[in-house]
């Protein structure tokens, strides 16, 4: 998802504060009246925002920060007619994407994006001070009550992680049937989710024959059937294996899936040995992980 799509997606998915503040807790939060429409409809002109100055912001938060001098200079360099210039130190609100290709990005509804360090720090080496919005009052009414719930992680991060470890599982003998090495049953979730399935571990090849084994060893598949040895192939090769020798190498592969809302699906890691006669292959010290990411 590109940066200019994320804001729109966030609005459509129904943004809420990660941890809604109500009642007595509101008293310890900093209150600011907002101007402008750059993050509407999440916050509109005249809203009161309750900002938690004691909690660091996380991915997906609306964050408040003090505008840096260089951020103000950039903003004022192409100021629309009639708009007042920005000043360093002004409090700004943006949507935080904590890790976008390694950078913390601040977004608005116009598709503008800048790094958090640029907008809130005077030097790229500084650490941005970003504080989360914990509630919003509009026309005298709090928008979020105690029953409001948002996922513990933002939209660009995994919301739920499943993993299975495998100490040892046979991939099989050359020419023989394939085997299921691991499986994970995932869901249901309230939202449709993207799933990132990753397998990593070691593949061991034991040459029990009297001839040198060729480099092509076999294939790992990640799919939705324990007997599917064709979909999503990831071929692996551990090099030539001399007679009566065990070779071992690390292996990892990844496949992507989507899961409809309120459904459950089992995903399998299947292995097929395509080495020469006498080659016995085993998957060891492995982990099968599925990260479910809210769409």
């Amino acid at each position: 998802m590109t940066l200019d799509e994320i804001f729109e997606h966030t609005v459509r998915a129904g943004w809420k504060p990660r941890q809604v503040a109500v009642g007595e807790e509101l008293a310890r939060l900093e209150v600011s009246r907002t101007r402008g429409t750059c993050i509407a409809p999440l916050v509109v002109d005249g809203d009161l925002v309750y900002v938690d100055q004691r909690t660091p912001a996380q991915d997906g938060d609306l964050v408040q920060f003090a505008l840096s001098a260089r951020g103000a200079e950039a903003q004022n360099s192409a100021l629309p007619e009639g708009q007042s210039p920005c000043r360093p130190g002004d409090r700004w609100l943006k949507l935080l994407v904590a890790d976008y290709h390694g950078h913390a990005m601040l977004l608005d509804k116009y598709g503008n994006a800048a790094t958090a360090t640029f907008l809130s720090c005077e030097s790229p080496d500084d650490t941005p001070v970003l504080r989360p919005v914990r509630n919003i009052a509009r026309a005298g009414t709090l928008l979020y009550g105690p029953d409001s719930y948002a996922s513990g992680l933002g939209m660009t991060a995994a919301t739920v992680v499943y993993s299975a470890t495998i100490s040892s599982a046979t991939i099989g003998t050359a020419g023989g049937a394939g085997h299921t090495l691991a499986s994970l049953t995932v869901g249901p979730f309230f939202n449709a989710t993207d799933l990132i399935a990753t397998v990593s571990g070691y593949i061991e090849g034991d040459n029990t024959s009297a001839t040198l084994q060729a480099a092509a060893w076999g294939t790992i598949f990640i799919n939705t059937s324990a007997t599917d040895f064709t979909t999503n192939p990831n071929q692996f090769s551990g090099g030539y294996v001399p007679v009566s020798t065990i070779e071992e190498f690390s292996f990892s592969c990844e496949s992507l899936f989507t899961l409809a809302a309120n459904t459950t699906q089992t995903y399998y890691v299947n292995g097929l040995n395509t080495g020469g006669t006498g080659m016995v292959e085993t998957f060891t010290s492995g982990i099968f992980k599925i990260e479910a990411v809210k769409r």
Partner: protein, 130 residues
């Protein structure tokens, strides 16, 4: 933060070496996720355990000491081959290195013959360690 379970044989209580983990974000789904991911014939144990020295007493659900069975002859042989992997790698490297010395020896370089003998002696020594 996540929660993990280790799977054991529901009859013998011996751990299988497999485990399942789900992040706390699953919230109330945790129990259902464990149930859905427990393979047939196995049961889930939540908590720290050492599968090499402990098993589950299936009557009480508590950990008890466990002595694994001795390795089979096949496992012993395989372990020996695994231990020989570094030695085999050294032999392979020496054999690869002899190609140039062979060429030099064939072309009449007398010093290359001595280098060949040195390589051969090193390989013989390594073979004795297998």
């Amino acid at each position: 933060v996540s929660r993990s379970v280790h799977f054991y044989d529901a009859v013998t209580g011996v751990f299988t070496g497999r485990s399942f983990t789900v992040s706390e974000d699953a919230g109330g789904m945790h129990a259902a996720a464990v149930k859905a991911n427990t393979p047939a014939g196995l049961a889930a144990f939540e908590g720290d355990c050492d599968p090499a020295t402990q098993r589950v007493d299936t009557a009480s659900g508590q950990l008890v000491p466990y002595q694994p069975p001795p390795p089979t002859p096949e496992q012993v042989a395989k372990a020996r081959r695994r231990r020989s992997m570094p030695t085999m790698a050294q032999i392979h490297a020496l054999e690869v290195s002899q190609a140039r010395v062979l060429r030099e020896a064939v072309l009449g370089d007398n010093a290359a013959l001595q280098r060949l003998r040195t390589i051969d002696e090193a390989i013989i020594k390594l073979r004795s360690e297998l």
